[in-house]
Symmetry: C2
Subunit: 289 residues, 2 copies
């Protein structure tokens, strides 16, 4: 049996620019002893859209093409990855050249409003971020306490720049299955700014073929649950957000408003559910095992 196939619009062509993620620096410790420690790399990447300078991002540099794609999506400057023909990153000159199929409508106007967000903030969240969050419809995802524990454990086991060099934020996207412990890490990203990490995940999602990410999704971040993190999760269609850290008032307000399940202070078997507890299947008997 064959199916009629609707041809998916072509995904953008991306380079695979790579760079060192850590560097060693000379230090002196409290015993007066000299040594070398690793610190995370941090480089500037100036984004040009159709030859026009848009913004300079400071980044660790692990997946710059996905970062730029996710940035454009999360800033709502493009509607989908298919709007982009190619993203070419060249670390020699610290530039990302984005070529779109049809330009970005009203780009000047839409990048004019500045909001300095909280925390590892996107910084200039060009205006429209809060607009339209009431129109967002989140999927009916639910999370079992056992899946939450599986998720937190997967993060604990993940090799990371954080473990070797500290001073970076990590984010991960999980898919949730039917089984008790079914929480599968699909993508793990670190960056010097957690807004970059979540943007990179948005770029990664946008590059997946249709059907690749079926089922429920959950998002993990090492950083605080700020309004920006909550809005971006909702924009990515993720209704469950888990953090090792806490939540801010705006993060709490937005999560409550869009019906997102926000879980913080998640380490080992402990956690606090700040909002959307109706999405969480509690299994208190697991808490003290």
């Amino acid at each position: 049996m064959t199916h009629a196939v609707t041809r998916a619009p072509p995904l953008p062509r991306l380079t695979s620019a790579r760079a060192e993620l850590t560097r060693e620096v000379h230090v002196v410790d409290e015993h007066g002893e000299h040594g070398l420690v690793s610190i995370p790399a941090e480089r500037d990447l100036t984004v040009y859209v159709d030859r026009r300078e848009l913004v300079t991002l400071m980044t660790l540099g692990a997946q710059p093409e996905l970062l730029v794609l996710g940035y454009l999506l999360n800033q709502r400057l493009i509607e989908s990855a298919a709007d982009v023909e190619s993203i070419t990153v060249d670390w020699e000159v610290g530039a990302a050249a984005v070529k779109t199929h049809a330009g970005i409508d009203r780009i000047e106007e839409r990048t004019a409003k500045k909001v300095v967000t909280t925390g590892c903030g996107q910084g200039s969240v060009f205006g429209e971020l809060m607009a339209g969050i009431d129109r967002l419809e989140l999927p009916a995802t639910r999370l079992r306490q056992s899946q939450l524990y599986a998720l937190v454990n997967a993060i604990r086991l993940q090799e990371s720049t954080y473990k070797s060099a500290g001073s970076v934020h990590g984010c991960a996207l999980f898919t949730l299955g039917e089984g008790d412990d079914d929480a599968h890490m699909q993508c793990f990203v670190e960056d010097v700014g957690r807004h970059n990490a979540i943007d990179t995940i948005a770029g990664w999602i946008a590059m997946q073929p249709a059907g690749r990410l079926e089922g429920g999704r959950a998002f993990y971040t090492t950083g605080r649950l700020t309004s920006e993190m909550v809005i971006k999760s909702a924009q990515m269609g993720v209704a469950i957000v888990v953090s090792r850290s806490g939540i801010t008032q705006m993060g709490h307000e937005v999560a409550t408003r869009v019906g997102l399940c926000a879980i913080g202070r998640a380490t080992n078997r402990r956690f606090v559910c700040y909002a959307g507890v109706e999405r969480l299947s509690l299994q208190p008997e697991l808490a003290s095992r």
Copy 2:
């Protein structure tokens, strides 16, 4: 004996807008138990300069007038506090009205360039931040290991929103005396974004009468030592920066370039000096006490 006194230019008039710093929210924990926890407040403050909208800051709201003053200083939109006639904050409408004596020259041009900085980034660090750092001359401040320990201990004892609600960054300014443990906390500020905390300290410094802050200064932050934190410290004439956290590559580069002493991982008696060790009087015998 009398001295001829040069009359200092008048300082700006500031309101003293206050707001609740925490709020309680309903949560459910891993045992399925319901309860209330405090989370930090977070509110938006739109800054108008001479009736013209400049930026919206997301802030805890403890000292909004000093935040706005420090923001204008650190963005180098004003040269000194005396450029400002008054700052009026009204939380009812979430607005800070800044009145200057003579306007801000070329404000449109100077706020046009966007850089999204790392970490709890200033966000839109309107362009000129990196410009002119090579012209900065830092004072010859030195820090003894015993003073570093006194500083870290003062932070440990400080009452804070962080202790009650988490999810905020803290900053403090210390002056250093002649004695072995002479490190005196002058100002302690918390905010949902650490860029706000350091801006508020810059505002506080600018409001002190001449001679009030004689001697060496050191700056403490709970956040990472990013390039932005290092540059802002240097701009405030502070040559010693201490963090509980680590350092990023750009932070390290800027600290090295301007000759600033950058100390991280400072908890109890441990620390790592990343740059400017020549400013640190090591006393390794104190490390293991």
